[in-house]
Subunit: 217 residues, 2 copies
């Protein structure tokens, strides 16, 4: 692993909160709330957007990347390996239907973090044995409104993945201030949040609550 | 321009027929009909598929590429610059909502053809002035069932683009054996076809009819 990637991985490990952008917000509101979250201490942002063509995706991702750089936060692109490569993002996050990790690695080089979503233990083990990705997103942790079709693995899945792999694990899916403790308990290194921050009346307060030591069991 | 790209461009210029895959067909049928078209003399195939995730897209594109290589036909990937780069395709074809041509060029290097769809003269002129793409798809030529939302430019648009640029021009949208002559007349270098071949009772016969000198005015 390159030094640069190792440094990025260390940042990820210590960030505790993994912000995933909410594609139900217009771009201006998204930037505004992301900035509030960064000011409150969030240090990882994944840009996820389903609808637009790659051109608009690239432009909006670039805006978000600039914002992240101001706060020295990690900027991660969901799915779009080409955009991640073009922007020299800190990471790219893949689902099971996206490009295989090995193919993505060929495009993005050795410096970029690659994350992978798993919703079954066997997927985590396959990723461990392949040795390409740097961290796992594990879920869905809890029932979730932003991805209603996500398979529900629950804290049990996270515990199982924890026991079989050494990856930094991001608990994702329905994580909130209220249920954060049980995600930490199951062995999460980071909590991924969408609605818990982007739909909050006060995104900064939500971030502070999720980062507070008290929230960690 | 690299020698390899120049050779690919020369092949494109002389191919006359530009086959665009029909994403309403299942993968097996698509391969079968593409093979029939290649046997009948088609020498350019663009893989276009809207629905699947990038992983499936990559796999299906790779199948089609293998088939094209057997016939020494050009294999072009629609939209997915990452997949085109991974497969070292002969070309990648961009729409106005896809990655900008300059960004795509950075990812795919100097050897790969880049095509661009235009449905307004100003888009063709912008592409000419930017100097990145190698050929244009111009349309929609005629009303079309496979892309019902496409803007209709008609032979007039093609004539206008012809007079303002030196690109090889691919007439696309609703082209059939019946109306091919008016597309040639308007100055097309190649005719793009989807339904005219893939929905034909006999794809090979449709290809031969479209390639026949008599079809060219």
């Amino acid at each position: 692993m390159s030094e640069r990637r190792a440094a990025r991985l260390a940042m990820l490990r210590s960030a505790r909160l993994y912000l995933v952008t909410d594609d139900r917000l217009d771009h201006h509101t998204l930037l505004q709330r992301t900035e509030q979250a960064l000011e409150a201490g969030a240090r990882v942002v994944q840009y996820r957007a389903k609808a637009p063509g790659r051109r608009q995706f690239l432009e909006q991702a670039a805006d978000l990347q600039r914002l992240c750089r101001r706060f020295e936060a990690l900027f991660i692109v969901n799915d779009a390996v080409d955009v991640a490569a073009l922007l020299d993002a800190d990471g790219v996050h893949l689902g099971q239907d996206d490009l295989p990790a090995g193919a993505a690695r060929r495009l993005v080089g050795d410096d970029m973090l690659i994350g992978l979503s798993v919703s079954h233990l066997r997927e985590a083990i396959a990723a461990r044995d392949e040795g390409v990705v740097d961290y796992l997103g594990v879920g869905a942790m809890f029932p979730t409104g932003t991805k209603p079709d996500a398979e529900y693995g629950g804290p049990e899945l996270l515990r199982a993945v924890r026991s079989q792999t050494c990856f930094p694990l991001v608990a994702i899916g329905g994580v909130s201030v209220e249920n954060a403790a049980s995600a930490w308990e199951a062995g999460a290194d980071l909590l991924a949040v969408v609605s818990a921050v982007f739909s909050a009346d006060d995104p900064a307060r939500a971030v502070r609550a999720l980062l507070a030591p008290a929230a960690r069991s």
